[in-house]
């Protein structure tokens, strides 16, 4: 089980650059102003171009090596420009553009609070809940 926040924005002249801006803004608000982000190409059937956003997590411990596969970068969310096929299916004006993103809530919560086991979020352990 996990939960996901989905975002969708459609308007005239929405660009990939706007998407980057919003995602970076979110990351800074959530992880702190010093966070370093990068975008890299990926694939989702409903966005084109598609991207995944990583934040720089660092390589300070053995667990950092493990969770970042030795790269220091950690995947946070998937996003992209809405594929024109999606607009076609819902009969939107083809001149519109937009972006979409999805963020795993548990994932970013675990990163923010240093939670190592996702099960802690579902067990209802009072000793865990009390800390928040």
């Amino acid at each position: 089980m996990f939960h996901q926040i989905e975002g969708l924005y459609v308007d005239n002249n929405v660009s990939f650059s706007d998407l980057k801006g919003v995602m970076e803004y979110f990351s800074k608000e959530y992880f702190g102003q010093d966070v370093k982000v990068r975008f890299r190409p990926s694939y989702f059937p409903f966005t084109e171009p598609s991207a995944e956003m990583d934040i720089y997590w660092g390589l300070n411990s053995e667990s950092d090596y493990r969770i970042t596969k030795g790269t220091g970068w950690l995947e946070i969310l998937g996003c992209g420009m809405v594929d024109p096929e999606v607009f076609k299916n819902v009969k939107y004006d083809p001149s519109l553009t937009g972006y979409a993103f999805g963020i795993g809530i548990e994932r970013i919560a675990m990163l923010k609070y240093g939670i190592t086991d996702i099960r802690l979020l579902y067990e209802g352990d009072i000793r865990f809940l009390r800390q928040f």
Binding site: F16, S17, G21, E48, Y122, D125, L129
Partner: protein, 786 residues
């Protein structure tokens, strides 16, 4: 998918480090990691075991003296095959084996100055049965990796996205590396001597359904010698995790990993009729496959068939009867393009997610089938001494036109938020090997035949973006589009609950919304929807109550000795009404245990306490006209239904012993479920404050004797109806039933508060009202005033 760096260098070389390449590939959309193979530490050297005696303090360990040329090392070794006078690889002090550094250590009291290694420890193979014993060609003191003549390599492990079928080979990855390097790849020119005979005399190809197989190329190669593969070929395949089988199969595999086109080799002499047809399978047709399994086919499957029946399932697996074995002399080699969707369906059905079908499913290069055959032939002729036919048989049933896509670079600039000119776009297209013509402010782009994924203009935007670099696209700093935040009432009440309940000491819980059938009838009798494709039997049904999840959390905490807590959960519960699945947003609450370990007094959790909390929560949420009714229930001995106006909005219950046992909880539990959807309707939307009277209130107490079975709520109802709105509050402050009273009576003491908005009340005003209240109570319940 594993890619060898040495192998890539057949196409293109790079001066970048492994780490830099991993980063560059990843930024280009090919996520990967890298690892080194055959990089044995230079401090691992060849040594000779001079003596080997039992360890004095351990049965299974031996004490060895190892001569490394310069030293005589004392080493403790646990391997069963260690003995005197053998040559072994020795990791001397300071060498690294994997992530582990060899240090001087004491094992059961005896000093050990190194480690004698197994093949697995050195990363040479998976063999870990004992230490590696070397033959006489090794010399004492030699650096082991030099003596072995192992080729060091880097293996990149790629996670290729499903749209990039063209990257499933060293050639494909080389093309991407060429983008990174800004250079071009070298495709080997194929040269070898072919024979005089012709394939077209030996085999006829019939494609019955062009959409299943747009292209089928093949070639006959005679007089091959099937045997073990040469070492270089074994090493290449081994490096990317593939097992060696025989030279023919290995070369076919090698070519697939090299160029991305899966090949299949038939034993030509085992084919019947010398005509091959590519067709749909017949109903109930069967084939014995290479893995010795007999499969029943259906008409959705594509088969390669000779005059007797199927000899292979196209793109998925070969047939047993036509396979190449060590007696095979003549080979028919197939290089074809099959329908992607059919191959996917078939491979999924038979569960053969193999390297070949993986590539067909994602689309192979239509224009490449002959080059692939040629390269295979060359390798086969070189390694097996066979002779290739003069010609190819190449049947194109459905030709593929070069795709041309119009590309408006101004639109692309706007779409991506960049500002590149025509020249810059031209350069990016060159990197992608996309040929362009420029006409009336638009590019006309010809897409390379291997890029099956590029079909629309927007696909080219992505290509431009990734080659330009996602991270070079500017980050918008201001968002001048207007928007408003929309929170509907349904969401707002959840926010309110999440602020009110924690302030009363509740913790929020999230539990799984899918249950097994064992808990479905514990809290209500609603039928609920079943999941068709459940992932486990415990997640077969949509929940019809929040309680099983909450009680599981209660039990979890009880076992961890937390003795007093309260939970709530907001979630949807389901009920199946005449084939319609009703979802209802619900608030579940649980009170658990006693805080009895407090210096002042015990805080008891019981149904009365919980009822008070429920009332206060609902008041905080501005829910109108709340009242409670004790009702019999099949689900608990103590059950109170909660009402707002005339609607039953939920219940409050005590967990009875039967369910306590079932959920493995010992201490008392009170719980409640309230329908958020229902209370939403009775929520006061525009709450306004009531002005406060400037006049004092007057209090009167009454004491009555009344029958036990009459509930307090009925009494209050009666009191209220007997008075007017000057009665502003009632409170019960004493309840007594004892021996002195009649058997079925109880004594109640109730305080009544009166107040007026317009004047100070005098005795008479209050007396009148109290009297009429008492009269009414006498009349209705036959009370005795005390």
């Amino acid at each position: 998918m594993k890619i060898s760096r040495n192998w890539l260098s057949n196409f293109i070389t790079s001066s970048k480090s492994d780490f830099e390449l991993v980063d560059a590939f990843t930024q280009l959309g090919l996520e990967c990691t890298s690892s080194k193979i055959n990089s044995i530490d230079s401090k691992v050297i060849v040594g000779k075991v001079k003596s080997c005696t039992k360890h004095p303090n351990a049965d299974r360990l031996n004490l060895c003296e190892v001569d490394t040329g310069s030293d005589l090392l004392q080493i403790v070794c646990g391997a069963p095959n260690v003995k005197e006078n053998i040559l072994v690889p020795v990791a001397t002090l300071g060498s690294k084996i994997g992530d582990f550094e060899i240090k001087k250590t004491k094992i059961r009291g005896i000093e050990s100055n190194g480690m004698i290694c197994s093949e697995k420890e050195l990363g040479i193979s998976d063999n870990h049965e004992g230490i590696m014993v070397l033959d006489g060609t090794f010399k004492i003191g030699q650096t082991f990796s030099e003596a072995l003549k192992l080729e060091q390599d880097t293996i990149f492990d790629f996670d290729i996205t499903p749209n990039r079928g063209d990257c499933f080979s060293h050639l494909g990855v080389s093309r991407e590396l060429a983008i990174i390097e800004g250079s071009h790849i070298n495709l080997e020119k194929i040269n070898y001597k072919a024979g005089e005979f012709k394939s077209e005399d030996a085999i006829k190809i019939k494609i019955e359904n062009p959409s299943l197989c747009p292209r089928y190329s093949c070639r006959l190669i005679k007089n091959v010698k099937v045997k073990e593969s040469p070492q270089w070929l074994k090493d290449r395949l081994n490096a990317i995790g593939q097992k060696s089988i025989n030279n023919v199969v290995d070369i076919a595999n090698y070519i697939m990993f090299d160029l991305g086109q899966p090949l299949h080799a038939f034993d030509y002499d085992k084919l019947n009729g010398k005509t091959i047809s590519i067709r749909n399978a017949f109903e109930n047709e069967e084939i014995l496959c290479l893995n010795n399994e007999n499969n029943k086919l259906d008409p959705e499957d594509i088969v390669i068939s000779d005059s007797n029946g199927p000899v292979a399932i196209a793109g998925v697996i070969g047939g047993f009867d036509s396979q190449v074995d060590f007696n095979t002399k003549n080979i028919l080699l197939e290089s074809a393009v099959f329908d992607e969707i059919s191959v996917r369906r078939t491979s999924k059905k038979y569960d053969y997610a193999k390297e070949a079908s993986k590539r067909f499913e994602r689309g192979v290069d239509f224009e490449n089938t002959l080059y692939v055959l040629d390269k295979f032939t060359k390798l086969l002729v070189e390694t097996t001494g066979g002779q290739a036919s003069k010609d190819f048989v190449d049947v194109i049933s459905k030709s593929k036109d070069t795709k041309s896509i119009q590309f408006d670079f101004n639109r692309c600039n706007k779409f991506l938020g960049i500002d590149l000119n025509q020249n810059e776009y031209d350069k990016l297209f060159k990197k992608l090997s996309i040929n362009t013509k420029f006409d009336k402010s638009k590019f006309l782009c010809s897409i390379p035949s291997y890029r099956n994924d590029i079909e629309r203009e927007v696909d080219l935007y992505e290509e431009i973006a990734r080659v330009y670099g996602y991270n070079n696209i500017p980050i918008a700093q201001n968002f001048n589009n207007s928007y408003s935040s929309i929170i509907d009432n349904a969401k707002q009440i959840n926010n309110d609950i999440r602020s009110i309940l924690p302030s009363k000491g509740f913790y929020e819980h999230y539990s799984n919304s899918l249950y097994n059938d064992k808990v479905l009838k514990d809290f209500n009798s609603y039928e609920t929807s079943e999941i068709i494709n459940e992932s486990s039997i415990d997640m077969k049904y949509m929940r019809n109550s929040l309680m099983p999840g909450l009680l599981a959390a209660v039990s979890f905490n009880e076992k961890r000795k937390v003795n007093h807590f309260k939970f709530f959960e907001i979630g949807r519960v389901h009920s199946l009404l005449k084939n319609y699945n009703k979802e209802e947003e619900t608030l579940g609450t649980v009170w658990y245990g006693h805080n009895d370990n407090h210096w002042r007094n015990e805080c008891k959790t019981d149904i009365y306490f919980a009822k008070g909390e429920i009332l206060s929560i609902l008041k905080n949420l501005k829910i109108n006209n709340i009242h409670f009714k004790v009702n019999k229930s099949n689900f608990s001995n103590i059950n109170i239904d909660i009402y707002s106006h005339k609607t039953c909005i939920g219940y409050l219950r005590q967990l009875d012993t039967k369910l306590s046992k079932k959920y493995d909880i010992k201490a008392p539990v009170v719980f409640s479920e309230i329908s958020i959807d229902k209370i939403l309707k009775n929520r006061i939307k525009d709450f306004k404050f009531k002005s406060i009277s400037p006049y004092p209130s007057v209090k009167r107490d009454i004491s009555i004797l009344i029958k036990k079975d009459i509930s307090y709520s009925k009494i209050i109802e009666c009191i209220k109806s007997a008075s007017d709105n000057l009665l502003i509050d009632t409170n019960i402050f004493d309840v007594y039933s004892g021996k002195e009273l009649e058997n079925n009576s109880k004594s109640l003491a109730i305080s009544l508060t009166f107040m007026s908005d317009v004047k100070t009340l005098v005795d008479k005003d209050v007396e009148n009202r109290v009297n009429s209240i008492l009269d009414q109570l006498k009349e209705k319940f036959n009370i005795i005033q005390r």
